[in-house]
Every structure is written in C-alpha cells, then in structure tokens.
Symmetry: C2
Subunit: 502 residues, 2 copies
Amino acid sequence: MPSTSPYHELARRHARLHRIGHASAILAWDRATLMPPGGVGARAAAEAELQLLARELRTDPAIGALLDAAAQESLGEWETANLREMRRDWIEANAVPAEIVTRRTMASAKCELGWRRQRFDNDWAGYLPAWREVVALSRAEARQLGGTLGCSPYDALLQRFEPGIDSAQVSAIFDGLTTWLPTLIAEARGRSGALVPLGKVDIETQRRIARSLATRLGFDFQHGRLDESTHPFTGGVADDIRITTRFREDALLQGINSTIHETGHAHYVAGLPAAWREQPVGGARSFGVHESQSLGLEMQLARTPAFCALLSPMLIEAAGPRAAFEPTALYARMTRVEPGLIRVHADEASYPLHVVARFRIERALIEGEIEADDVPAMWDEQMAELLGLDTRGNYRDGCLQDVHWSRGAFGYFPSYTLGAIYAAQLFAAMRAALGDLDALVADGDFAPIFGWLATQVWSQGCRFETPELLRHATGSALDAGPYRAHLTVRYGGLTADATPSR
Amino acid sequence: MPSTSPYHELARRHARLHRIGHASAILAWDRATLMPPGGVGARAAAEAELQLLARELRTDPAIGALLDAAAQESLGEWETANLREMRRDWIEANAVPAEIVTRRTMASAKCELGWRRQRFDNDWAGYLPAWREVVALSRAEARQLGGTLGCSPYDALLQRFEPGIDSAQVSAIFDGLTTWLPTLIAEARGRSGALVPLGKVDIETQRRIARSLATRLGFDFQHGRLDESTHPFTGGVADDIRITTRFREDALLQGINSTIHETGHAHYVAGLPAAWREQPVGGARSFGVHESQSLGLEMQLARTPAFCALLSPMLIEAAGPRAAFEPTALYARMTRVEPGLIRVHADEASYPLHVVARFRIERALIEGEIEADDVPAMWDEQMAELLGLDTRGNYRDGCLQDVHWSRGAFGYFPSYTLGAIYAAQLFAAMRAALGDLDALVADGDFAPIFGWLATQVWSQGCRFETPELLRHATGSALDAGPYRAHLTVRYGGLTADATPSR
C-alpha cells in the first residue's frame, strides 16, 4: 500500500498525537513529582494548550473522510484493529461540542480547587454549588456522547474507561458480589487477631527498599524512574516509564504496596507492542485492563505467603530484624480485613464494596435518577448496606473523599474492581498453564509469570476489545467466578465453591 | 482596541507559541537532568514534534497580513516593540525554506552523534565528512537569511543571537581586545604564586553549599529548582526556573561558580516583565544580554574579595575549616590566570581570546573565505597568536572541543564575550549610581544591586534593541572601556587608564 494511503495519513496523524501525548505525560509527571509550587499557573496554561492542540488535530474534519476511505483499503488484522481504535477516537473527540468540553473542564477545575479546602472542612454546603455545575455539564456531555454512540448517558461515560463493557454487565457482576462478599468480610473480621507492631522505618531506608523491590520485580531503570508524589501513579511513556510511590515513616507497607502496584502498571506499558508504539492499537486496552496488571502483581502475586517469604529478608537486610518482618507477620498484616470509611485505605476484601457504592450512585446521578443534592443520603444508605458503616454527616470521609467526581470523572470507578476481577481470571488461567506459581514466587523467578502476561495481555495492545482479550487469554468469557474463589480461599479460610485461586 | 484586532490575534498566537515553548523547555530540562537513557529515542521524536508544531504556527501565511494590518493600529510603546519582535520572528521563521532547515537539523544531529566519539578519539579525518555537510547547509541557511535581511551570511546568523549588533562592530571590539589583553595576561601570569591546596569535598556537602549559596543570592526555590547535569544550564520558564550545576569532589569552585553563574541567568528570567510573560517583547533580549547577567553575578559581583569574605564562613560551616577556605586563598584561586587549551576551563582574562579565535574562524568559514578542511590550520594560528598555545595535531582539545559547530550553531560564540563587556559596562554604571558595591556584598545585602538590574535590564525585556538597552541603562553607547578597566584593575594590579571598575 502506498505511503500516501488514507490509512497511512491517519497513522501519521496519530503518531503526531502520540508525541504530543508524550509531552503532556512528562509535564503532568513533573507537576506531580517535583515542580516548585510557584510553577502551577504557567504549567496549567501549557498543559491546557497541548490538550487544545491535540483536540484540534483529533477533530480535523478531514479525518472523517480519511476513516471512510481507509475502511475501503485492504488492511491486515492489526491495521484493521488500529482503524477501529482511530474511529473510536474520532467519534469520542467529535461527539461533544468544544464549548461543553471547555465549560466542563473549567467547572471541574473550579470545583476541584474548592474541594481541597471543603473536604478538609467537611463543608458539603460550600461544595455543592460548584459541583452541581460539574454534574449538569457532565450529564450534558454524557447525553451528547450517548446520542452518538446510541447508548445511555452513563454507558457513554463508562465506555471511555472500559470500552466493550456496558453498565448492565457491570451492574450484574457488582450485584453478584454483594450476595456473598459482606458475609466473607464478616467471617474474616471475626478471625483477625492482633498484628505484630511494625514500628517506624525512616524514609531513606524505605526508598532503598522500594528501589530494590521494583528492580526485583523487573522494573527497568534504564527505561524508567521511581519517584515520589502525593498520590502514586504511573506516567511517562513506554520507553521512559515514570512510576511514583509515597512513604510515611509509620506506614512501611503502604510504600511497598504502591511500589508493587505501580510496577504492575509499568510492566503493562513496557510490554505493549513496540511495533505499534505510536498508534492507538498499540496503547493500553482500558483502565480496567491496566488495573488488572497492577492488581495482578499486587494482589495475586505479592499478597501471598510465598512473596512475604521473599520480602522478609529484603526488609531485614535494609532495616534490621523485627518480629513484624517475619513472613507470617507480614502476611497477616497484608491480609487483615477491617472495613473502614476510606476507599484508598481499604483492605482487598472491602475495597470492591466501596466501588459498588460509587458505581450505583454515579450511575443514578448521570441517568438523572437522583440529583447532586441527593448524593450524601444515597452514600449513607449504600455504606450502611454494603459495609455496615455509619457515614451520616461525615462528608469528609464520605462522598467528598475522592477527587474523581469533582473532576467530572464519572464512569471511572468500576474499572478498579473490573481490574481485580480480570486479574483473578487471568491468574487462574495462568495457573492452569504454568502450574504452581508459589514456587516460582518463592524463588523470585518471575520470568515465566511475566512471560505469560506479556504474551497474553501486554503485547496484545488494543488488538481486541476487552471481552475478546479475556477470552483469547483465558479461554472463557468475562467471569467473576475466579475472583470469588480467590477471595474466598484467601479470606474465608474455606474451600471455595469455584476453582480455588491457590 | 477590540480583542479581535490583528495585533491581538498575533498576541494570541504568540501566547500559544510560548506555551508550546514551555513544554519544550521542560522536556529538554528533563532530558538533561534525569531522563533514563532508554528514553532518548522517544524523547527526540516528541521534542522534534513540538518544534515542528511551533514552526507551523510561526510560518502560517496569515501572519504576514496580520503584521501589516497591526502596523496600522494605534499601539502603545510596548505593543509597538512587541510587534517589532513579532516581525523579527516571522522573518526568521520564513527566510529559510523548511527543507533546508530539516536537512541542516538532521546533518547536525548526525555530526554531533559522531563528534561524541571522534572528539574523544582525536579523529579529525573521521569527523570532517559529516561536518562538511553541516557547514554547507549552515552556509545555505545563512545566505537565505542574509538575503532576506539584506546583510552578509555571517551577520544573518549573528543577529539570531545578538540582534542589533553586526560583525563589523564585533570585529572592531574584539580586535581592540587583542591589542592589550595578551600583555595583561602575561603580566598576571608572571605574578601568580602557588595556590593553597583545596583538597576534596564530598558531593553531598557541595550540594548543600550550592543550595544555600543560591538561596543567599536570591534564587527563589518557590519558583525554581537546582539540579545537576553534565553541562550546567538555565532552563524552564519564568515562574519555574530550572538551573543546573555539576559537582566533582576535587573541583569545589567549579560547582560554586556555575551555581552563581546560573543564578545570574535565573534572576534575569525571573525579572522579565510579568505583564508580557507570553509575548516576544517579554522575553530575554539576546544571548549576550543573558550572559551579561550570569557574568555580572559571577565575575563582577562574586569574584571579589568582598564576596570571598562572605563565602568563606559558608564553606567552613559546611565542610569544616581549611586554609584554602580563607578569603584571600579563595580570591587567589578564583583570579588565577593560566591560559590553557579548553575554553570552558579558561580563567576570566584568557576566556575572551578563546572567543575571538572562534569568531574569526566561524566568520571566515560562513563567508566562504576558508573551507571546513582549513579550520585546524586557522585554529593553530589563532591559538598561537592570541594565547601562545601550540595546538597542532590536538583536535580533541582544539577545534573539536566545543559542541556548537557540530550543531551548526555558528554566530553564538561572540555572545559570551559581548556579555562580559555588557556586564562590565552595566556594573560601572551601577557603581556610579549606588556607590561602593563591596560594602553591600560584604554584608550580603544584594537587594540594591538586584533592584538596579531589575529596573535597568530585567524588567525591560525586549522593549529596546541591545544598543539602546545599554544606552538606556548606562547613559552610554556600547563601550568596551569599562571591561578593559575591570580586567586591568583585577589582573594588572595597576591603575587602569579608563574608569576603574573597583
């Protein structure tokens, strides 16, 4: 095919967008890690300008005709998948008028700015006016996008994060969780004993531990960095991945767990198909699939007795011997179940119920079943029902705890738990293929595990939509069974009624 | 004037360019300071893409008509100066066909890549073929730009770095230096005694010293960072200035001097007129004026007995007492004159002669009086004549020592010494206004000094061209007299025949 074909012209434009995205990614990383405070205004303007440039390139009217013409070309499988992703991008970029996007972005920025203070002050009444505006504009955006895609407003937002999965599926899966998870949590709480006190570990020692842990887990410092930020994240680009963690003297495992988590994200990014680096098909499949790789490493692989046995001597070497560094003490700490108000501090078993509550609330909100003003009441009701917690009047640790809704990032929350479910399904299939993973983990031999993930997930990029990716990797459709089995074995201490996850 | 006026449309476009420039500046800083080595390919592509985007915006054909229409508007003084700088940018961006720019950029990248090895190997024959290409394309570029500007090819390149100054002026000033500077250097060498040995200072201590020194000299860490790179530089943007330095255990003063030097650059950037932040008129006047601010701080202010008295207790506090930290020992070390082969290691008195040699060679080369092949011979001749050094056969420490020519950055070198001359002239005027600076420096009271520079230079941005800026600040035309006086007092130990600089 000649290099001037419509497909190649589209590919050229997407390579350009990718490079602008590279600049945006580094600017955002820099802002979150080491930018001096006085740089915030100029940086916001520069980042907004790059976004505007990208939007102009993505909405160039010529693209519509190029997409139609490229569809007539004789393309290979990957090129066809790439064209599908290009069309998805085109539809999404054009569905919502620029004016609504701009107003929503500005309303979100204003709301988030107020939220930083209002959350701290537990000031729901102060927060509400700006947030009503975010909700109204997010609904308008969702209606526009849904109109173009032929789906409900909330489904339209959901597909930005998890294309190929709709809210009916999510709802069915999440409702399923609520039939057995609260019971499992109650059982696990009943069996929780006292933890061996861990004490403090100085930050410099924690940095050394995090660095050697990331190295051990295959993070490539020739193609990436490990830094610190208020909220851990994975940024940068495939050849230069910037992961961050955070340290607190009295919370050693927090820094360790986020290092492991972000290393999982980093593996996915590094393993995406190099030949398609600058193209949509070479990107991460979805937020949920991304999360399946971080949670795969953190929950499936590292939150195990075998990994605790590997971690224990690393901690002792770095910080000296402590009773709390013994493998059994570490494992007991990592798997303690104790429902609490804050999602990001939740244990593995409680976490999905935080997500279920948020999904139900944001779906009702975007579909117009409730209003912004009704959110605290629904929050109280959901937290009581799902986690047995009383949140009345506590907005700070209630519906104001996360930044997502202030930013208008509705549709994002389900990805966290979908990721956990995908991870369990993938690791169950991996065990069927590789046999006992514990022996590999105990030896620190992660190569077969990462090799399987690289083949089945990382190198697939956006070749498939999520449901097909799972079927291709595991031989089954999306199935929450392995997730139930995994949690039941780990926290129920009983034989699971599905295939045990270990 | 309505916000849709041609002038405002131009201002809008330049604000956009400024923000893209912000992104480019941060990407370049990141690359030079902390990017992992594996990121180099993707980063080069992203940086090139931003440059291409900027070029597209700068060469949009609509700009020509906007400039003509804006010239008919009734504009204030600053707007008029801004329009002049916008037109300069337009002419420069359009004078050279994109194809030549692209070929020159690629040839430079290739030449520089080879140079890294060939310099090390003293391999002039290996270097020459790629460099001939750079020279040919740089000449083509210079001819095109000179044709548009109505000046000689070398003058066209020179005005990129030093607008308002032509090579006849530079030549006259530089020839003037050669009539007295070699004699002064010979005298200073004759009087140089043995230095008190300094010994090693560990890097962590040097980092602390550099940080407290920058703070003492007014660097604002709320709006900037101090990091490390192979070659010190000042990057970032006005509200977020990124200076770098470098440390070697056995070269304490190197890290200190570059910290002072870059802090001078940072003051200039921070002091540029905030109201014109995103406009051409709000930018730095020229490379020479920029250098006058770094050299003003480094050579005029800090390389003095008064500053050494201030620095001495800082060093003793950080690294413990040493004889070499005594003020007189520090000053003797800072002002030692010993001509050597390498420009970046040259003492203050020898440095300008390195620049004179380069100016003569690059001017002859771009004007076609010599060929690339002739450069080593002319180098040997100039170094013998100006500095009494034998460089025959030593390409590594000779004409291959700097990266500028490999990159095609012809016309840059004069700025270094023009900056030193401007600095001497500015500081002589400052002394006439403020009286004895030594007393202020000894007290660490830099506020009056920076206040004068802020008013006379920093806040002026590109309101004037360089010669007018100097006249406005000092009451005189460009004059190398104060520079001669400064060097003569410091290194001659005799009464200067012009106004003494102190």
